[in-house]
Symmetry: C2
Protein backbone atom coordinates (compact mmCIF):
# COMPACT_ATOMS: atom_id res chain seq x y z
CA UNK A 1 0.00 0.00 0.00
CA UNK A 2 1.97 2.94 -1.35
CA UNK A 3 0.25 5.68 0.66
CA UNK A 4 1.16 3.89 3.88
CA UNK A 5 4.76 3.24 2.80
CA UNK A 6 5.13 6.91 1.93
CA UNK A 7 4.02 7.92 5.42
CA UNK A 8 6.36 5.38 7.02
CA UNK A 9 9.30 6.76 4.99
CA UNK A 10 8.38 10.37 5.73
CA UNK A 11 7.52 10.09 9.42
CA UNK A 12 8.85 6.76 10.75
CA UNK A 13 11.63 7.04 13.29
CA UNK A 14 14.15 4.22 13.49
CA UNK A 15 16.08 3.27 16.62
CA UNK A 16 18.75 0.59 16.26
CA UNK A 17 18.03 -2.32 13.94
CA UNK A 18 14.59 -3.28 15.15
CA UNK A 19 12.54 -0.38 16.45
CA UNK A 20 10.30 1.70 14.19
CA UNK A 21 8.18 4.42 15.73
CA UNK A 22 5.17 5.62 13.76
CA UNK A 23 3.40 7.43 16.55
CA UNK A 24 2.66 10.50 14.44
CA UNK A 25 -0.04 8.68 12.46
CA UNK A 26 -0.58 5.10 13.66
CA UNK A 27 -0.33 4.24 17.34
CA UNK A 28 -0.37 7.40 19.42
CA UNK A 29 -1.70 10.08 17.13
CA UNK A 30 -4.07 8.45 14.62
CA UNK A 31 -4.61 9.88 11.14
CA UNK A 32 -8.19 8.81 10.57
CA UNK A 33 -8.09 9.65 6.85
CA UNK A 34 -5.22 7.20 6.47
CA UNK A 35 -7.09 4.69 8.64
CA UNK A 36 -9.99 4.88 6.17
CA UNK A 37 -7.62 4.00 3.32
CA UNK A 38 -6.23 1.15 5.44
CA UNK A 39 -9.72 -0.13 6.21
CA UNK A 40 -10.70 0.05 2.53
CA UNK A 41 -7.55 -1.89 1.59
CA UNK A 42 -8.19 -4.62 4.16
CA UNK A 43 -11.73 -4.90 2.81
CA UNK A 44 -10.39 -5.26 -0.73
CA UNK A 45 -7.82 -7.89 0.25
CA UNK A 46 -10.33 -9.97 2.21
CA UNK A 47 -13.21 -9.40 -0.20
CA UNK A 48 -13.58 -13.14 -0.82
CA UNK A 49 -14.13 -13.86 2.85
CA UNK A 50 -17.37 -13.94 4.76
CA UNK A 51 -16.44 -12.00 7.89
CA UNK A 52 -18.89 -11.74 10.79
CA UNK A 53 -16.61 -10.15 13.38
CA UNK A 54 -13.33 -8.26 13.62
CA UNK A 55 -11.10 -9.20 16.55
CA UNK A 56 -8.21 -7.06 17.77
CA UNK A 57 -6.28 -6.44 20.96
CA UNK A 58 -6.05 -3.35 23.13
CA UNK A 59 -4.84 -0.70 22.77
CA UNK A 60 -3.40 0.34 19.41
CA UNK A 61 -5.34 -2.19 17.33
CA UNK A 62 -8.67 -0.66 18.37
CA UNK A 63 -8.65 2.43 16.15
CA UNK A 64 -7.69 0.47 13.06
CA UNK A 65 -10.30 -2.20 13.74
CA UNK A 66 -13.05 0.38 14.42
CA UNK A 67 -12.46 2.20 11.13
CA UNK A 68 -12.02 -1.05 9.14
CA UNK A 69 -15.37 -2.21 10.52
CA UNK A 70 -17.07 0.60 8.58
CA UNK A 71 -16.23 -1.29 5.38
CA UNK A 72 -16.97 -4.81 6.65
CA UNK A 73 -20.13 -3.69 8.48
CA UNK A 74 -19.52 -6.05 11.40
CA UNK A 75 -18.92 -5.54 15.14
CA UNK A 76 -15.43 -5.26 16.57
CA UNK A 77 -14.31 -7.21 19.61
CA UNK A 78 -11.11 -6.30 21.40
CA UNK A 79 -9.23 -8.68 23.68
CA UNK A 80 -8.38 -7.24 27.07
CA UNK A 81 -4.92 -7.55 28.52
CA UNK A 82 -5.86 -7.05 32.13
CA UNK A 83 -8.44 -8.28 34.55
CA UNK A 84 -11.47 -6.05 34.36
CA UNK A 85 -14.53 -5.91 36.54
CA UNK A 86 -16.40 -4.80 33.45
CA UNK A 87 -16.10 -8.21 31.81
CA UNK A 88 -18.16 -11.31 32.19
CA UNK A 89 -16.51 -13.92 34.34
CA UNK A 90 -16.83 -16.44 31.52
CA UNK A 91 -13.95 -15.67 29.17
CA UNK A 92 -11.67 -17.35 26.69
CA UNK A 93 -8.08 -16.82 27.78
CA UNK A 94 -4.71 -17.19 26.15
CA UNK A 95 -1.18 -16.46 27.32
CA UNK A 96 0.99 -14.14 25.26
CA UNK A 97 4.74 -13.93 25.71
CA UNK A 98 6.23 -10.50 25.07
CA UNK A 99 9.78 -10.73 23.74
CA UNK A 100 10.18 -6.99 24.25
CA UNK A 101 9.21 -7.00 27.90
CA UNK A 102 10.23 -10.63 28.54
CA UNK A 103 7.03 -11.27 30.42
CA UNK A 104 3.89 -13.29 29.80
CA UNK A 105 0.52 -11.60 29.95
CA UNK A 106 -2.95 -12.98 29.62
CA UNK A 107 -5.50 -11.84 27.07
CA UNK A 108 -9.20 -12.54 27.37
CA UNK A 109 -12.43 -12.29 25.45
CA UNK A 110 -15.90 -12.74 26.90
CA UNK A 111 -17.53 -16.01 25.79
CA UNK A 112 -20.74 -14.10 25.16
CA UNK A 113 -19.43 -12.47 21.98
CA UNK A 114 -17.64 -15.23 20.10
CA UNK A 115 -19.09 -18.58 19.07
CA UNK A 116 -18.95 -21.36 16.47
CA UNK A 117 -21.04 -19.29 14.03
CA UNK A 118 -18.39 -16.56 13.80
CA UNK A 119 -15.98 -15.97 10.93
CA UNK A 120 -13.29 -13.76 12.33
CA UNK A 121 -10.87 -11.31 10.79
CA UNK A 122 -7.98 -10.51 13.14
CA UNK A 123 -6.50 -7.01 12.75
CA UNK A 124 -3.54 -5.38 14.46
CA UNK A 125 -1.13 -2.52 13.94
CA UNK A 126 2.22 -4.35 14.14
CA UNK A 127 3.38 -7.91 13.58
CA UNK A 128 6.80 -8.89 14.92
CA UNK A 129 7.11 -12.21 16.75
CA UNK A 130 3.44 -12.91 16.25
CA UNK A 131 2.67 -13.86 19.82
CA UNK A 132 -0.32 -11.54 20.18
CA UNK A 133 -1.90 -12.70 16.90
CA UNK A 134 -1.30 -16.36 17.79
CA UNK A 135 -3.01 -15.70 21.14
CA UNK A 136 -6.00 -14.18 19.32
CA UNK A 137 -6.10 -17.17 16.91
CA UNK A 138 -6.05 -19.49 19.92
CA UNK A 139 -9.07 -17.65 21.38
CA UNK A 140 -10.99 -17.86 18.08
CA UNK A 141 -10.38 -21.61 17.99
CA UNK A 142 -11.41 -22.05 21.63
CA UNK A 143 -14.70 -20.45 20.62
CA UNK A 144 -15.08 -22.95 17.78
CA UNK A 145 -15.10 -20.00 15.37
CA UNK A 146 -13.17 -19.70 12.10
CA UNK A 147 -10.15 -17.49 11.48
CA UNK A 148 -10.84 -15.99 8.04
CA UNK A 149 -7.62 -14.03 7.93
CA UNK A 150 -5.12 -11.76 9.64
CA UNK A 151 -4.61 -8.15 8.56
CA UNK A 152 -1.57 -6.22 9.74
CA UNK A 153 -0.63 -2.62 9.04
CA UNK A 154 3.16 -3.00 9.45
CA UNK A 155 4.94 -6.37 9.52
CA UNK A 156 8.56 -6.61 10.58
CA UNK A 157 9.71 -8.99 7.86
CA UNK A 158 12.90 -9.80 9.73
CA UNK A 159 11.03 -11.37 12.64
CA UNK A 160 9.23 -14.69 12.38
CA UNK A 161 5.62 -13.79 13.23
CA UNK A 162 4.59 -13.72 9.59
CA UNK A 163 6.07 -17.13 8.92
CA UNK A 164 4.38 -18.65 11.98
CA UNK A 165 0.97 -17.42 10.83
CA UNK A 166 1.38 -18.38 7.16
CA UNK A 167 2.49 -21.86 8.27
CA UNK A 168 -1.01 -22.35 9.68
CA UNK A 169 -2.56 -21.77 6.24
CA UNK A 170 -4.13 -18.51 7.32
CA UNK A 171 -4.40 -15.65 4.82
CA UNK A 172 -2.07 -12.98 6.20
CA UNK A 173 -2.15 -9.54 4.60
CA UNK A 174 0.44 -7.02 5.76
CA UNK A 175 0.04 -3.60 4.16
CA UNK A 176 3.73 -2.79 4.57
CA UNK A 177 6.54 -5.24 5.30
CA UNK A 178 9.74 -3.65 6.55
CA UNK A 179 13.23 -5.09 6.49
CA UNK A 180 15.72 -4.84 9.35
CA UNK A 181 16.87 -1.24 9.65
CA UNK A 182 20.43 -0.72 8.50
CA UNK A 183 22.13 2.65 8.90
CA UNK A 184 18.81 4.02 10.16
CA UNK A 185 17.20 3.47 6.77
CA UNK A 186 13.80 1.92 6.14
CA UNK A 187 13.46 -0.60 3.31
CA UNK A 188 10.36 -2.51 2.33
CA UNK A 189 10.17 -6.16 1.38
CA UNK A 190 7.91 -5.95 -1.65
CA UNK A 191 7.52 -9.60 -2.46
CA UNK A 192 6.20 -11.65 0.42
CA UNK A 193 5.32 -15.28 0.04
CA UNK A 194 1.59 -15.83 0.32
CA UNK A 195 -0.16 -18.83 1.83
CA UNK A 196 -0.88 -20.17 -1.63
CA UNK A 197 2.77 -19.95 -2.65
CA UNK A 198 2.21 -17.00 -5.01
CA UNK A 199 4.14 -13.78 -4.70
CA UNK A 200 2.49 -10.68 -3.38
CA UNK A 201 3.66 -7.95 -5.68
CA UNK A 202 0.75 -5.67 -4.95
CA UNK A 203 1.95 -2.10 -5.02
CA UNK A 204 -1.25 -0.52 -3.95
CA UNK B 1 -29.57 10.35 23.05
CA UNK B 2 -32.51 7.96 22.92
CA UNK B 3 -30.88 5.27 20.76
CA UNK B 4 -28.06 4.93 23.29
CA UNK B 5 -30.40 4.89 26.28
CA UNK B 6 -32.43 2.15 24.61
CA UNK B 7 -29.32 0.00 24.19
CA UNK B 8 -28.29 0.61 27.80
CA UNK B 9 -31.74 -0.46 29.01
CA UNK B 10 -31.81 -3.51 26.74
CA UNK B 11 -28.25 -4.75 27.22
CA UNK B 12 -26.73 -3.07 30.28
CA UNK B 13 -25.97 -5.34 33.20
CA UNK B 14 -26.10 -3.89 36.66
CA UNK B 15 -24.08 -5.17 39.63
CA UNK B 16 -24.76 -3.62 43.01
CA UNK B 17 -25.48 0.11 43.16
CA UNK B 18 -22.60 1.38 41.08
CA UNK B 19 -21.47 -1.00 38.35
CA UNK B 20 -22.98 -0.95 34.86
CA UNK B 21 -21.54 -3.28 32.25
CA UNK B 22 -22.18 -2.42 28.61
CA UNK B 23 -19.59 -4.69 27.06
CA UNK B 24 -21.97 -5.99 24.39
CA UNK B 25 -21.82 -2.72 22.45
CA UNK B 26 -19.48 -0.16 24.03
CA UNK B 27 -16.26 -1.27 25.69
CA UNK B 28 -15.47 -4.85 24.73
CA UNK B 29 -17.61 -5.56 21.71
CA UNK B 30 -18.11 -2.31 19.80
CA UNK B 31 -21.22 -1.67 17.69
CA UNK B 32 -19.72 0.57 15.04
CA UNK B 33 -23.12 1.61 13.67
CA UNK B 34 -24.01 2.93 17.12
CA UNK B 35 -20.57 4.55 17.35
CA UNK B 36 -21.36 6.47 14.15
CA UNK B 37 -24.55 7.81 15.73
CA UNK B 38 -22.55 8.72 18.85
CA UNK B 39 -19.90 10.50 16.75
CA UNK B 40 -22.58 12.39 14.82
CA UNK B 41 -24.22 13.47 18.09
CA UNK B 42 -20.94 14.71 19.58
CA UNK B 43 -20.36 16.67 16.37
CA UNK B 44 -23.81 18.22 16.66
CA UNK B 45 -23.36 19.15 20.32
CA UNK B 46 -19.93 20.71 19.77
CA UNK B 47 -20.80 22.28 16.42
CA UNK B 48 -20.02 25.76 17.71
CA UNK B 49 -16.48 24.79 18.63
CA UNK B 50 -13.38 24.94 16.49
CA UNK B 51 -11.79 21.57 17.24
CA UNK B 52 -8.32 20.73 15.88
CA UNK B 53 -7.70 17.50 17.76
CA UNK B 54 -9.57 14.82 19.67
CA UNK B 55 -7.87 13.51 22.81
CA UNK B 56 -8.84 10.28 24.55
CA UNK B 57 -7.25 7.65 26.78
CA UNK B 58 -6.50 4.00 26.11
CA UNK B 59 -8.16 1.62 25.78
CA UNK B 60 -11.93 1.92 25.53
CA UNK B 61 -11.99 5.60 24.53
CA UNK B 62 -10.09 4.86 21.33
CA UNK B 63 -12.88 3.34 19.25
CA UNK B 64 -15.31 6.12 20.11
CA UNK B 65 -12.73 8.82 19.37
CA UNK B 66 -11.69 7.21 16.07
CA UNK B 67 -15.27 7.09 14.75
CA UNK B 68 -16.14 10.57 16.09
CA UNK B 69 -13.08 11.91 14.24
CA UNK B 70 -14.80 11.04 10.94
CA UNK B 71 -17.27 13.84 11.63
CA UNK B 72 -14.79 16.38 13.04
CA UNK B 73 -12.15 15.56 10.39
CA UNK B 74 -9.28 15.95 12.85
CA UNK B 75 -6.59 13.57 14.15
CA UNK B 76 -7.07 11.58 17.34
CA UNK B 77 -4.45 11.41 20.05
CA UNK B 78 -4.70 8.83 22.81
CA UNK B 79 -2.93 9.13 26.15
CA UNK B 80 -0.95 6.07 27.12
CA UNK B 81 -1.23 4.57 30.56
CA UNK B 82 2.07 2.75 30.56
CA UNK B 83 5.65 3.43 29.66
CA UNK B 84 6.18 2.60 26.04
CA UNK B 85 9.36 2.42 24.03
CA UNK B 86 7.27 3.53 21.07
CA UNK B 87 6.82 7.02 22.49
CA UNK B 88 9.05 10.03 22.32
CA UNK B 89 10.89 10.66 25.55
CA UNK B 90 9.47 14.18 25.69
CA UNK B 91 5.97 13.77 27.06
CA UNK B 92 3.36 15.62 29.05
CA UNK B 93 2.47 13.55 32.11
CA UNK B 94 -0.32 13.58 34.63
CA UNK B 95 -1.18 11.33 37.56
CA UNK B 96 -4.60 9.74 37.69
CA UNK B 97 -6.01 8.19 40.84
CA UNK B 98 -8.27 5.21 40.28
CA UNK B 99 -10.93 4.94 42.98
CA UNK B 100 -11.84 1.49 41.67
CA UNK B 101 -8.37 0.06 41.91
CA UNK B 102 -7.18 2.43 44.67
CA UNK B 103 -3.94 3.06 42.83
CA UNK B 104 -2.41 5.99 41.00
CA UNK B 105 -1.26 5.57 37.44
CA UNK B 106 0.48 7.94 35.09
CA UNK B 107 -0.84 8.99 31.69
CA UNK B 108 1.33 10.57 29.05
CA UNK B 109 1.12 12.25 25.67
CA UNK B 110 4.05 13.03 23.40
CA UNK B 111 4.87 16.74 23.28
CA UNK B 112 5.23 16.46 19.52
CA UNK B 113 1.48 16.21 18.94
CA UNK B 114 -0.06 18.83 21.21
CA UNK B 115 0.78 22.53 21.30
CA UNK B 116 -0.61 26.02 22.01
CA UNK B 117 -2.31 26.10 18.60
CA UNK B 118 -4.56 23.15 19.44
CA UNK B 119 -8.23 23.27 20.36
CA UNK B 120 -8.97 19.95 21.96
CA UNK B 121 -12.12 17.91 22.37
CA UNK B 122 -11.72 15.25 25.07
CA UNK B 123 -13.81 12.10 24.55
CA UNK B 124 -14.23 9.02 26.72
CA UNK B 125 -16.65 6.16 27.23
CA UNK B 126 -17.45 6.56 30.95
CA UNK B 127 -17.35 9.39 33.45
CA UNK B 128 -17.50 8.53 37.15
CA UNK B 129 -15.09 10.30 39.50
CA UNK B 130 -13.63 12.24 36.60
CA UNK B 131 -9.98 11.56 37.43
CA UNK B 132 -9.04 10.40 33.94
CA UNK B 133 -10.70 13.40 32.25
CA UNK B 134 -9.11 15.81 34.74
CA UNK B 135 -5.73 14.22 33.93
CA UNK B 136 -6.36 14.75 30.20
CA UNK B 137 -7.40 18.38 30.86
CA UNK B 138 -4.18 18.85 32.85
CA UNK B 139 -2.16 17.57 29.87
CA UNK B 140 -3.97 19.89 27.44
CA UNK B 141 -3.17 22.84 29.69
CA UNK B 142 0.47 21.80 30.08
CA UNK B 143 0.63 21.97 26.27
CA UNK B 144 -0.79 25.51 26.36
CA UNK B 145 -3.69 24.22 24.26
CA UNK B 146 -7.40 24.94 24.80
CA UNK B 147 -9.98 22.47 26.09
CA UNK B 148 -12.99 23.06 23.83
CA UNK B 149 -15.15 20.50 25.57
CA UNK B 150 -15.56 17.06 27.06
CA UNK B 151 -17.82 14.43 25.46
CA UNK B 152 -18.82 11.34 27.42
CA UNK B 153 -20.94 8.41 26.33
CA UNK B 154 -22.21 7.38 29.78
CA UNK B 155 -21.94 9.56 32.87
CA UNK B 156 -22.63 8.16 36.31
CA UNK B 157 -24.68 11.06 37.61
CA UNK B 158 -24.34 9.87 41.20
CA UNK B 159 -20.57 10.36 41.20
CA UNK B 160 -18.94 13.76 41.20
CA UNK B 161 -16.86 13.73 38.00
CA UNK B 162 -19.44 15.71 36.08
CA UNK B 163 -19.63 18.41 38.75
CA UNK B 164 -15.84 18.71 38.92
CA UNK B 165 -15.61 19.30 35.16
CA UNK B 166 -18.57 21.70 34.92
CA UNK B 167 -17.08 23.70 37.81
CA UNK B 168 -14.15 24.51 35.53
CA UNK B 169 -16.48 26.13 32.99
CA UNK B 170 -15.87 23.43 30.42
CA UNK B 171 -18.73 22.32 28.15
CA UNK B 172 -19.47 18.76 29.21
CA UNK B 173 -21.81 16.70 27.07
CA UNK B 174 -22.81 13.27 28.36
CA UNK B 175 -25.03 11.34 25.96
CA UNK B 176 -26.61 9.33 28.78
CA UNK B 177 -26.53 10.14 32.48
CA UNK B 178 -27.44 7.26 34.75
CA UNK B 179 -28.64 7.40 38.33
CA UNK B 180 -27.47 5.08 41.09
CA UNK B 181 -28.87 1.61 40.45
CA UNK B 182 -31.60 0.66 42.85
CA UNK B 183 -33.09 -2.86 42.79
CA UNK B 184 -30.95 -3.57 39.72
CA UNK B 185 -32.88 -1.00 37.69
CA UNK B 186 -31.36 1.61 35.40
CA UNK B 187 -32.79 5.13 35.51
CA UNK B 188 -31.59 8.12 33.55
CA UNK B 189 -31.18 11.65 34.85
CA UNK B 190 -32.72 13.60 32.01
CA UNK B 191 -32.12 17.11 33.20
CA UNK B 192 -28.49 17.82 33.89
CA UNK B 193 -27.27 21.25 34.81
CA UNK B 194 -25.16 22.74 32.02
CA UNK B 195 -22.18 25.05 32.41
CA UNK B 196 -24.35 28.02 31.49
CA UNK B 197 -26.93 27.17 34.11
CA UNK B 198 -29.56 26.05 31.60
CA UNK B 199 -31.18 22.65 31.77
CA UNK B 200 -30.25 19.98 29.29
CA UNK B 201 -33.54 18.47 28.28
CA UNK B 202 -32.28 17.16 24.98
CA UNK B 203 -34.01 13.89 24.26
CA UNK B 204 -32.14 13.08 21.11
Amino acid sequence: MELLKKRILEEGKVSGEEILRVDSFLNHQMDIGLFQEIGREFHRRFSGKQVTKILTIEASGIGIAAIAALYFQVPVLFAKKTQSRNLDKETYKSSVYSFTKQTTYEIQVSKAYLGPEDHVLILDDFLANGQAVLGLMDIVRQAGATVEGVGIVIEKGFQDGGEKIRRQNVQLESLAVVDRFKDGKIRFLDAVRQTDGSQNTTQE
